[in-house]
């Protein structure tokens, strides 16, 4: 079996979408077209050039253009590693491992896509894929304030509702408030965002009897399931250690909400 390996991706463009939030398109070489293998909900490990920063940064996939060997990532500057990435320009390169983890299981019924904060980006490729496959796409995006990065890009796939913590756009409150206010219903919930939001999504899904898939986040080291750093508590025994600790990087990052203790 051929060894999987780090690929050197060329940056074709990078723009700042809003303060601290960057959008980058990566082009992969023809012998390493990971854009063709990736599905919505998976992530990439990006490696820093600065040698003092050893660990890869896990970043979710925002869009795929496999025929052009392109992957888009939208990320927030969370520390020195992502700061380094934000300074890369078109023509620079970055080492990437991926695609990693498991993506969303896509249904054909009406989808309720929920993204909160930096959990918004992975919902974009999911919206595109569901739309392409003929599923109804309804998107609810939660932001802190009126800085609604990426929101307008979802409109081509279906209706979009917004919630903001400060009430400056859409429903004042959180994504669940926006869903209730607009009486959004569907057959499957897909969500990515901070843990408090995911807790709310899980409770809402249980109340309405709608299956929900949630994308989890945790500090990672290896990114491939070996080091056991990024575990989350699960209802059933995990396949690795049989101690109800699922690995976010390998068993996830997408899980069915009822399987995870939040």
């Amino acid at each position: 079996m051929a060894e999987k390996k780090k690929c050197k991706a060329a940056i074709t463009s990078q723009i700042m979408l809003s303060p601290g939030i960057y959008s980058m398109w990566l082009k992969f070489p023809s012998d390493c077209n990971i854009a063709a293998q990736a599905v919505p909900g998976q992530f990439l490990s990006l490696y820093c050039r600065e040698g003092s920063r050893l660990l890869p940064r896990p970043i979710s996939i925002c869009e795929l253009a496999p025929e052009d060997r392109l992957i888009r990532i939208v990320y927030r500057i969370a520390g020195q590693g992502t700061q380094e990435f934000s300074r890369l320009l078109a023509g620079d390169s970055v080492e990437v491992l991926g695609p990693l983890g498991n993506g969303f299981a896509r249904g054909t019924g009406a989808g309720i896509l929920i993204g909160g904060g930096i959990g918004v980006p992975p919902m974009l490729e999911l919206a595109k894929a569901l739309h392409r496959e003929g599923a109804k796409v309804q998107t609810i995006l939660g932001y802190r304030d009126s800085d609604l990065f990426l929101a307008s890009e979802f409109e081509q796939y279906g209706p979009v509702w917004i919630s903001t913590e400060d009430g400056s756009a859409g429903t004042k409150g959180n994504v669940i408030d926006a869903i209730r206010e607009n009486e959004v219903s569907g057959d499957m919930i897909y969500a990515c965002g901070p843990v408090p939001m995911l807790r709310g999504v899980k409770a809402f899904a249980e109340e309405k009897g709608i299956p929900a898939q949630i994308s989890m986040e945790e500090r990672m080291a290896c990114g491939i399931g070996a080091c056991l750093a990024c575990v989350c508590r699960s209802r059933e025994e995990d396949s690795h250690s049989h101690v109800k600790n699922k690995r976010v990087c390998k068993d996830g990052p997408v899980f069915f909400a009822q399987d995870i203790e939040l």
């Binding site: 050893l54 500090r219 080291a221």
Partner: protein
């Protein structure tokens, strides 16, 4: 060119293995690196029963390294024997099984269970800084090191490597204690106990507060300790601590290590082990070295 070494009576095709805990039982990394190319795979610590490990966050990056407090999450010896050993036996590489326990009896239970298994060496973890019982508690007192080594040696059917902690004042004393207890080899260093504060949260970066520091940041400490330990005992030394490249590995070999392990370096590059083996070959070729033994302990 000869890269093969003998470690405690076990012939190895080359002197490179993995540091316990950084490589699982090889299955995940098997997709990224050909395990046939390694001298040995050292597996993640296994106990008598499954261990849950510590709460998250379990890791954080630090300058030139990282802190971890995984807490030895593992599936227990039954799953390990049924699942992980058969997987590794598919490859032409040696198997070093790292063993952990909360009491001497637990270590012995695992060692006895492994007696009839087709593994090559045992590595006894008496140096994990992240568990409340066992681990480092046994590794910081030379009398306890000798005692637990002797107890394990009575039960063990494979050669025993004692994995030593760097969190001690005198590493030679610990190395000699392991040798006196009958150890067939020693490995060092485990991680250095450290702490990171998240200044924005005004709290600890790790749920466990403290963690074990690994990576290039600790390499000079590790090289020094390997040198001291190798000169204090007659049993072979498996050296590790921050090895990412062949140049790093060669420092340990020249300091007196018969074998070396790549640990945190695997997280930076899943193919690091293969590249270390290749780099050692290239170095020997460029330097006109015919046999790796010309380099081991040459300083």
């Amino acid at each position: 060119m000869n890269l093969s070494v003998d470690f405690a009576g076990v012939p190895m095709k080359n002197p490179v293995t993995t540091a316990s805990g950084t490589f699982g039982s090889g299955a995940e990394y098997g997709e990224y690196v050909d395990l046939n190319g390694l001298g040995a795979v050292t597996t993640k610590g296994v106990a008598a029963t499954p261990w849950e490990g510590n709460p998250t966050p379990r890791i954080c990056e630090t300058y030139g390294g990282m802190l971890n407090a995984i807490g030895l999450q593992n599936p227990g010896i039954d799953v390990f024997v049924e699942r992980d050993i058969p997987y590794l036996k598919k490859f032409d590489t040696r198997i070093i099984v790292n063993v952990c326990g909360k009491t001497p009896e637990e270590y012995c239970q695992v060692v006895e269970r492994l007696a009839s298994e087709p593994i090559d060496l045992l590595e006894i973890n008496i140096s994990c800084p992240n568990v409340k019982a066992g681990g480092i508690a046994f590794g910081q007192d030379p009398r306890l090191v000798e005692e637990i080594t002797a107890q394990i040696k009575k039960k063990a059917k494979q050669p025993v490597i004692m994995k030593l902690s760097p969190n001690v004042a005198n590493i030679e004393e610990m190395a000699r204690a392991a040798e006196a207890g009958g150890a067939d080899g020693i490995s060092l260093i485990n991680t250095l106990t450290g702490m990171k504060i998240d200044i924005y949260k005004r709290g600890f970066a790790l749920a466990n507060k403290t963690g074990g520091l690994s990576g290039p940041a600790i390499k000079p400490v590790a090289v020094r300790m390997v040198y001291q330990a190798a000169h204090a005992v007659d049993i072979p030394v498996l050296g590790m601590g921050g090895i990412c490249t062949a140049e790093d590995a060669l420092e340990f070999l020249m300091a007196g290590a018969t074998m070396v392990a790549v640990g945190t370096g695997n997280f930076h590059d899943p193919a690091a082990t293969r590249k270390v083996v290749e780099g050692i070959q290239e170095f020997m070729d460029a330097q006109g070295v015919q046999d790796i033994h010309e380099l081991i302990g040459c300083v």
